[in-house]
Structures are given as C-alpha cells and as structure tokens.
Symmetry: C2
C-alpha cells in the first residue's frame, strides 16, 4: 500500500535538503510566506511559487505516535490509514481517484510528533483538495468492519516492514534502549501485541481529540495567490467547527544517562555487519539558543556527506568502511538523537570500524573543528536551504515539520542566519558535552557466526 | 527516615522464605485462614497464630508504581510517605507515637504492584490500629505545605539511595533496558525530574482513585479470633465508604525480545566488578499452570542458595567467584524477571565469571536437572513455606503480596502441592524456553580503569 510513511521522523528536513537538486534560487515574489489563523484555530502557511502550474497542499496534525496513550501504540499511524476510508460525503477511494484523474499525486505519513496528508495537483484543483481534506477531518465513518479490515493492513505492514527485516527489528530495540522514559522509545508503527487490540472506541476517541482544525497546520506551496488560498481555506476548512482546547504536549522526559548500553541482533539473513551509536541530545525545540544549530553543523562536519571526516577517513583514506556517517534529527518536539554509524568493507572487521569512528569522535571532542571546515559546512548547509526552495514538497515539509514541533515561520526563515552565527567553539562544546562514549547506546547487526568462529 | 521500603518487588516472598528460621511448624487451629469481604468491598484475610500475644496488621493497596500515569513516576511511593501526615482526626506523628507507646513497630513499603502499611502490636491494640488505618485511608489533609516538605524528603531519599550508589544507578538503567514497554522499567522511587514536579493535584487524584476500601486487602496474622477481627474491621474499616469501581489493571505488556542487550556503568567508587543477566519470564499471575513453579525450582537449583549449581561450581569448586546465584521474582502482576549474577574473587576476571555462569546455564538448558536435585529443591522450597508459618510477618507478606497481584488465598495454600507436581522435564523446558543468552539483558558494574589498562 502506498501510504506507509511512518518512521519518517523529522529526518524529513535533513534528507529533503540533502536530496535537493543544485538549481539556482529564484527571486520575485516567490517564497514570500504568508501565515494566518482561521477563526476555528487552524493555522495556514502559504508559500507562493509560480515557476510551474502546480501546488502542494499539506495538512499537518499535531499528533504523532509519541502522543499515544499507554498500551495503544500504533494508533496514530493506524489513524493515518483510517483517514483514507469512507466519510459521510465520499465513498472510500473517491478522494484518491479524484487526485489520479487530474494527474496529481497524494500520500500521508506518521511520525513521532505529527501526522501529515498531502496532495500535489494543478492549482485549479486546490479547492477540491481542501474540500476533501476538510471533509475527512470530521466526517469519517468508523465502523467495526472498517477498523478490522484496516487493522489487518497495518498488522501486515508491521510484519513485512519490521518483523521480516533484521535492521528494523534491531532499530526498534535500540530506540527502546536509548529512550528509557521519553515516548520516542515506542515504534511509530506500534508494538504488535498492542496493534492487534486497537479497536473502534480507541479510534473514535483519537479522532475526536486530535483531528480538529485547532490542532492542524495547513501548508500550501505553489502557483497560487495567498489571498485566494485564504478565501478557499475559509470556504472549506473554515466550516469545520473548532474542537475542545488541547492540553499542552508535555511528555515524560528522559532521565540523565549514566551507562554505556549495547543492543545486538545476530541473524542469519545479515551478510555485512554494521553498527550505530547514538546519544540523547536537545532538539531545535528543547535546545538552548544556538545549540541545535551547533549540533547540525557537528553532524555535517563529522559525517554529513562524502566531504565529512568519517567518510574521508574511513571510506576514502583507510578504505576499511563501505559506509560511515553521522546525523542529527533536529526537528523534533522533545529531546532527540545524534547518531554515528559505519559498516566494514572487504575483510575489515566491524570492531575496527567502530574504533575508527570512536577515534574521530575523540578527535573532534578534543580538538574541535577548524574555522575553514566550519565555514564550508555552513555554506553547504545554507545553500541547501536555498536549493530546497526549488522543490515544493521540501518547502512544505520544512514549514510543516517545524510548525508541528513547536516552531514558527520565523524559525524557518531565520535558520540560515542562526547557522551562520555558530562558532567553532560552540561546535566543539556540543561534541564534548554530548558525544561521551561511556554514556551512549550502540546497536550491532551481526551475521550468524559460523560454528568454530 | 524509616519508611523507605520501595524497590521491594515481590522478592518479599522469596526473601522472606529464605530468611525464615528453621523452627518446626505448629498445628492446632493456628494457620486456619479465614477470608471475607466487608460490605464496602475491602478484602480481609485472618490467620490465627496463638503462640505469642502479638498481632501483625497489614493493609495492602492494589496500587504500585507500575500503575502511575505517564510522567508522574514516584507518585505511589510519594503517597506512601504522605500517608504518615496529619488527617482530619489525628495530628502528624500521632499514629507513630501510639505504636511506639505500646511497644509496637510499624512501617510501610511501595512496590511495582502494591503499597502496604503494617503494624505489629499486642492484640489489645489491634482495633486502635484499624482505627488509625481506616482514618488515613480517606481523611488525609493534603496541603501544599505538606506536599512540598515531603517531596523534599523523597528527593533526598532518591539522592542518597540511588544517585549516590553506582549499583542502584546501574540497576535502574538495566531495568529500563530489560523492560522496553511494560511499566516495571520505571523505578519505584521515580525519575528525579518527574519527582520534582509532583504536586498536590497529582497527590489528591491518586488518593481519591486508589485509597479506597474496595482497592485494599487487610491481612491480620496473630493471637486473634477471626470473628472478633471481623467485628472490629466492620466497626473501623466498614465505616469507610466504597469508592468508584476501579478499572482492571491492564498495563502495556512487553514485546518479544530479539536482541542481546548490555548496560555498563563504570565508576571510580566501584572496587569489585560484578554482573547480572536477566530475562523476561512469566509471573505466577501470567504464567501457564505449572510454569512459574518450574521457574521457581529452576532458580533454586541453578542459584538459590549455597547448595545450588552456581554456588557450588563457581564459589566452592572453581573458587573464582565471591558470589554467584539466581533468582526469580514470581509474585508480580505482570511478566517478571529471572536473574543470574556473579562477582569475581581475588584475581579472577569478571569475564571468566560470566563465562562460567553462562556455561552452567547452557548445561541446565541442554541436560536439564536430575530427579534427585529436583526432589531436594522441592523439599527445601516446601519446607520454607512451612517455616514461614513461624513468622507472622512472613505469613502476612505471603498472603498480602499474592492477593495484591491477582492471586487468592487458595493460591497460597495450594502452592506447596503445585511445587511438588513439577517434573524435571518442566524445569528443563522452562530453562530452554527462557534462558536464551542471545535474548537477554546484562548489567556490568566496573571499576574505573587505570590509564594504560
């Protein structure tokens, strides 16, 4: 099934930027972001982009797997699926068909902090899309039959995407070991034994609590006039009644980690071993000013791409690794993770890869980064933001994920300036403060050992 | 402060039995258990024991740390403390003084599944104790001042008992690594950052929900007449209004473990290294018939005391360990843990101790146990139950912990028979099914390494 975008995290931002094509940025009124609230509390962000006659329409709900009640894991992602079922006004599949008929595309995804639905269509179809989205925000028909059928779908999704994939099984248990209190320890798709029990009352309660205009952010990027979008939004979403006020999203937070933890999965289906090490670090939403930006640059310099230290040292110079890198998942509501990873090439041993990665971490902690490599990292980062403007869905994802995790339009717009201000000392301080090996969590994926090894 | 019995788990039963003196069991009407319900739903168990003019009076509330709402860890233990504060009828300390003045003793403890309050006094004071307990079940005065003062006490308790103790810090993170979904991963005393936020509305909500006669079990063991106890209970506890029905205690359960996990704490205060390995196993409440009994006997044979395999092999024969053993925490509401542990003696290395423990596990998994050692283990176990009758508080703890974790009086009484029925094949099957090293969680407590080591 197409709509299987769980587990996206806010890697969205990072990966979207990384993947953006290297085209020049456009000027004109393009990119002049308008944001406003509808009377029912729905937030709207419009980013005009007139280069092509298309528009990307996304609705972000500020509800993700980390908001689920205890024992109901998977309900957020399950609900993403249910949103494609029949409503009081449209049969199941009617929305999808309408999109296909006009040559558009649509999908949805669920993450820890949000659930989003999106369509890319000609501008003439925008109001129709809004009508469909506004309709399913409140008018779903949740019968026991619908629940049972779609529950079978998510159970099968879990079997095929997680349980039959050793890396995914390992990742789940690494996450649950890294996070001992914060709900990011629970997989977005849910634990099987809880998914099996999800029922109609659970779904109804979830829908009524969270699928409300005052819990949603509409992001429209494309060949549109903001005033026209506003009028359309008022005619469609504006008719949906405001829901009860939602409680602040205050979740259990992580206690200080005092230990080195490891999680090892040995499986006959694994051919090449690999490892990752992660640390709990602040996100853009929880960090002190400048700290998340420093972590972004630290990840970029240490292991962001093939110009990074890890890649150059392990893959290029020593030639022992098939891959080595680092990433920081900054766009999260709560504390997040900073990760390094690697896998051996040829006869190299995993233990040597890990030692080489650890050595690079020790070096950056001890010696920091040079002004020159910091400048180059900033340039790459800031340029990627500019490049992102070239892709409608990257822009929509940047704004949507930021607004759904406690940020605002200004946070997105000022981000390049904040990146530019980070100093080498701040990057070094972030490395020294967070990348402590005695307080980390490592995952190892190992082939089944031969007898006698 | 005296009342600091958190973290007890239901090791109560095992340890109580292990510690019971080897005195002969008494006959007569002693031990004839009566149990009944008061009209308000309070369960009462009376165990007459006329050998000495004392009585042990315990009230068990079916509320423990594993029932706490997300983000409110520590509230159950905090509430145990608050129960010693002023009520509408008695000043703070009055209950304690009354016990002291008659030469009695009293205390309380909180575990994952229950919170218990107990007094040991002359029988003439029993009704007075009931009066005090019934009073504080509903009449506590919870002011902001009381909350603040006692919160400082539990915070200090956490600092002194956990945070300044490397073994306790390690144990917390091992628990949170072993349990990735089930609430036993949360420490009974609570996470510091959540304890600091506990407030009067939290306490009030907790009190109103759980401190009710229909959520309590009264256990009275001693020189009493059951009919007289019943009349007293009706005059005291019977006056407390029944509370709203409580929801079934259905908690998130643990997903299947697919990995080997380790948690390592390195600390300068550690002189002798040690390790433990644990597995998730069923408890008496969740197991199939006979399986928890088999696990009890497996723990006894493998590492229950100095006649066990681990002790004989590692401490006596090889002389490499200062300690080595195993235990099973059977009296829990949800799935529980089976643990092996060891520490080196002299120049022996921790890695060798662990290998020797693993070898004993592999042997019992592969070869099972002999009929002879099974018989001896059963005899020790069943005899310990008989010995327990000799200690009032052991008896009270056995009944109270069983009744507070979903069992009944018959479960306690028939336990020796169920132990006698376990076969060697069942013990072997339990070992083979659960003691899989690739799916275990180990904790390592290590001294700070010397430079150059």
């Amino acid at each position: 099934m197409r709509r299987t975008g769980f587990g996206l995290r806010a890697a969205l931002l990072a990966s979207a930027l990384a993947l953006a094509a290297a085209a020049p940025a456009r000027a004109a009124d393009d990119g002049e972001v308008k944001d406003f609230l509808l009377d029912n509390g729905m937030e709207v962000v419009v980013i005009p982009d007139h280069r092509a006659p298309i528009v990307t329409h996304m609705v972000w709900y500020k509800i993700g797997s980390a908001d689920e009640p205890p024992g109901k894991s998977g309900i957020a992602h399950f609900f993403e699926h249910l949103m494609f079922k029949a409503t009081a006004n449209h049969a199941a599949g009617e929305f999808d068909r309408a999109v296909s008929e006009i040559g558009g595309s649509n999908n949805a995804f669920t993450s820890y902090d949000y659930t989003a639905f999106h369509e890319t269509v000609p501008p003439s179809a925008l109001e129709q899309m809004m009508g469909f989205e506004a309709d399913r925000m409140r008018n779903l028909i949740l019968t026991d039959d619908v629940i049972k059928t779609e529950r079978d779908v998510i159970l099968e999704e879990r079997r095929s995407r997680i349980d039959s994939n050793p890396q995914a099984v390992l990742d789940e248990e690494v996450d649950a070991t890294l996070w001992q209190n914060q709900p990011y320890r629970i997989p977005v798709i849910g634990w099987m034994q809880e998914m099996e029990q999800l029922n109609r009352p659970d779904a109804k309660a979830f829908y009524d609590a969270y699928y409300r205009p005052n819990n949603a952010v509409l992001v429209v990027v494309g060949d549109v006039d903001p005033n026209a979008v506003k009028a359309m939004a008022e005619r469609t979403y504006g008719k949906v009644a405001r829901g009860p006020d939602l409680r602040p999203r205050i979740r259990p937070v992580e206690p200080e980690q005092n230990t080195k933890r490891t999680v090892t999965l040995t499986d006959a289906r694994v051919s090449v071993p690999s490892f990752s090490t992660q640390w709990v670090v602040p996100s853009y939403h929880t960090a002190k000013p400048g700290e998340a930006e420093a972590l972004d640059l630290l990840a970029e310099i240490l292991g962001g791409d093939n110009r990074s230290r890890l890649y150059q040292q392990l893959v290029v110079k020593q030639g022992i690794a098939s891959e080595a890198g680092a990433y920081f998942q900054g766009t999260m509501l709560d504390a997040t993770n900073f990760t390094v990873y690697g896998a051996p090439r040829g006869d190299a041993k995993l233990v040597d890869i890990e030692a080489a990665v650890d050595a690079e971490i020790a070096r950056i902690v001890k010696e920091g980064v040079s002004d020159d490599e910091l400048e180059r990292a900033k340039t790459r980062y800031v340029r990627s933001m500019i490049f992102a403007r070239d892709k409608q869905d990257d822009m929509a994802n940047m704004y949507g994920s930021t607004l759904a995790t406690g940020g605002n339009v200004k946070d997105v717009q000022e981000w390049p300036d904040r990146i530019r201000k980070v100093t080498a000392d701040e990057v070094k301080a972030a490395a020294a403060r967070y990348l402590v090996l005695d307080r980390s969590t490592s995952g190892y994926l190992l082939p089944q050992q031969q007898a006698g090894n």
